[in-house]
Amino acid sequence: METATMTPSPTTPTHAVSMDARSAPASAPAADAPPLIEIGGFSFWYGPKQALFDIDLRIRERAVTAFIGPSGCGKSTLLRCLNRMNDLIDGVRVEGSVRVQGQDLYGPDVDVVDVRKRLGMVFQKSNPFPKSIFENVVYGLRLQGVKNKGVLRDACEKALRGSALWDEVKDRIEESALSLSGGQMQRLCIARALAVEPEVVLMDEPCSALDPIATAKIEELIFQLKERFTIVIVTHNMQQAARVSDETGFFMLGKLIEFDKTDVIFTRPKQKMTEDYITGRFG
């Protein structure tokens, strides 16, 4: 097992032995292709507080993987570990590995900036820059040094089409992004993530601030996007997880309780806790 330490912590927390998570088969079942992302023995600490316990999980390419679980169980934490956004927080520490196409993201020679280009992220609250729609979409490309106007325009159109926003904004891409509606802003943020052509799109409750119609649009979008991208989505909405995802992981208190095909999780979960959660008996 690989160990990557970002900030050495004086108190090494004892490795809690995870119970149910170990006994349950935590790998993706019957995947023909090798997984794109392979999380192995992954634990995570915020300072002295352990937030993730020994997670093993495989994420298939061009599929939608959903993380569900009660609030505070570590879904966002795990998601943010997949593109090393948690590096930005002081005093965090990881153990274990996250391999993307075999390469450990927490290995010694990893370029974090490059990791974030390959694994794009969409946040819970849309966070457009106070710039024009166009400049928002091409921001990542500009960071990469693309200057050619034509190239940027094409990429902008492609990304906006990809996020099903093009028809609504094509006549006003020079207008401020802040003039869009909430749902449009979130799709803009998706377009912005798509524009840099990532391999994976990580979404943290992307619809939680949206109304049902905007939510339906984004769900439809996710469905289309999985033809080109691998998607990992955190959601509190069981129906949403059931509708959009191919595989689902159920987390509790920082542990992966069960991971399986979505229909299995929702119709015949192996763990009692999973069943209780999805039937709404707690959480």
């Binding site: 930005l88 974030r116 946040f123 966070n127 960071l143 003039s179 509606s181 909430g182 912005r192 993530a193």
Partner: protein
């Protein structure tokens, strides 16, 4: 419940009364200045603003050299203080490890607590000789042909005044910029990072988000530099002339009032000085109001806050509002 309601009502009344009082006070000061300068206003009218002669003996008063000196020295100060102040703000919010941030910011702000006269003394004993040395070097090069570097190197003059003002204004610019940067939602920096930004690019995104507030911070520094008296009086050279040269001894509005008020003989002379005070008062008020508006606009967040752009946490009003 009722009692609490009553208390709140009392509090509201009290605070409104204080607010009205403050406005009334400002208005009263303005009127008083207006009254105290009526002779000069009557005699010179607008030509007071454009007149270049300041000759108490022959009763000729023009304020242009002082207005010029004040603007010149303040702009010069900002040219230095804006990048340095914003730099300190960036450094103490994004660059330095978190546990050093507060102490460092505190140290920078401590500069604001040093009395003006101490800056003046330091200016005379340390800064002026250094500046004189610098000016001497420059005036031996062909650069001296430029209006900016013309004239003999006294040391006392515009450059010294600008630099000492810069030093005094930096803590204001940095502390307000720091508040602005802290008010930028984390989500903005995260958005940049998630698209492959380096730390500097993420800082740029944050600066862009808070740009109006940063501009406000700079304006606030400008307002501050504008009214600064003591230290400037000690190093600017106190010579009312319109000169583009950094080396030339010049004068400022606040400095001339401080120097000449107590020995002003004759009503017109007094009224002319008071009118300079009035001009200073009006301009400072405008600059401060403008800066405050800019800072507020960031704290409220740009555009449609309700639609997903998280409003920056409300931050305490910048305490750098007072201009002398």
């Amino acid at each position: 419940m009722r009692r609490r309601g009553g208390d709140d009502g009392g509090l509201e009344l009290g605070t409104s009364a204080v607010a009205v009082l403050v406005v009334a006070l400002v208005a009263a000061i303005g009127l008083e200045l207006l009254h105290g300068s009526r002779l000069s206003i009557a005699k010179f009218g607008w030509s007071f603003w454009t007149g270049r002669d300041w000759d108490p003996v022959s009763g000729e008063f023009g304020a242009l050299p002082f207005i010029w000196g004040t603007f010149y020295s303040s702009l010069l100060a900002l040219l230095v203080a804006a990048p340095v102040g914003v730099g300190i703000a960036v450094f103490t919010t994004d660059v330095v490890p978190p546990r050093f941030r507060r102490p460092l910011a505190f140290l920078a702000e401590l500069l604001a607590a040093v009395p003006s006269i101490v800056y003046g003394l330091w200016g005379i004993f340390v800064l002026v000789p250094v500046v004189r040395g610098l000016e001497t070097v420059v005036s031996r090069t062909p650069l001296r042909k430029l209006p900016l570097f013309s004239g003999p190197p006294y040391g006392l003059g515009m450059l010294s005044a600008g630099l000492i003002l810069a030093l005094m204004v930096i803590p204001y610019v940095s502390s307000v910029s720091r508040e602005v940067l802290q008010a930028v939602p984390v989500a903005q920096r995260e958005a940049a990072y998630a698209l492959g930004a380096t730390r500097w690019e993420a800082i740029r995104a944050a600066l862009h988000y808070g740009r109006t507030g940063i501009l406000g911070a700079v304006f606030l520094g400008f307002g501050r530099a504008f009214g600064e008296t003591m230290a400037v009086t000690m190093v600017i050279g106190n010579n009312p002339q319109l000169s583009a040269s950094l080396f030339a001894p010049q004068y400022s509005m606040a400095a001339v009032i401080a120097n000449e008020f107590s020995e002003a003989t004759g009503d017109l002379y007094l009224h002319a000085l008071t009118e300079i005070g009035l001009v200073l008062f009006v301009i400072t008020l405008l600059v401060n109001a403008a800066s405050r508006l800019l800072i507020w606009s960031v704290q409220r967040g740009p555009g449609r806050v309700s639609d997903g752009v998280p409003a920056p946490e409300t931050i305490p009003p910048a305490r750098a509002g007072e201009a002398a």
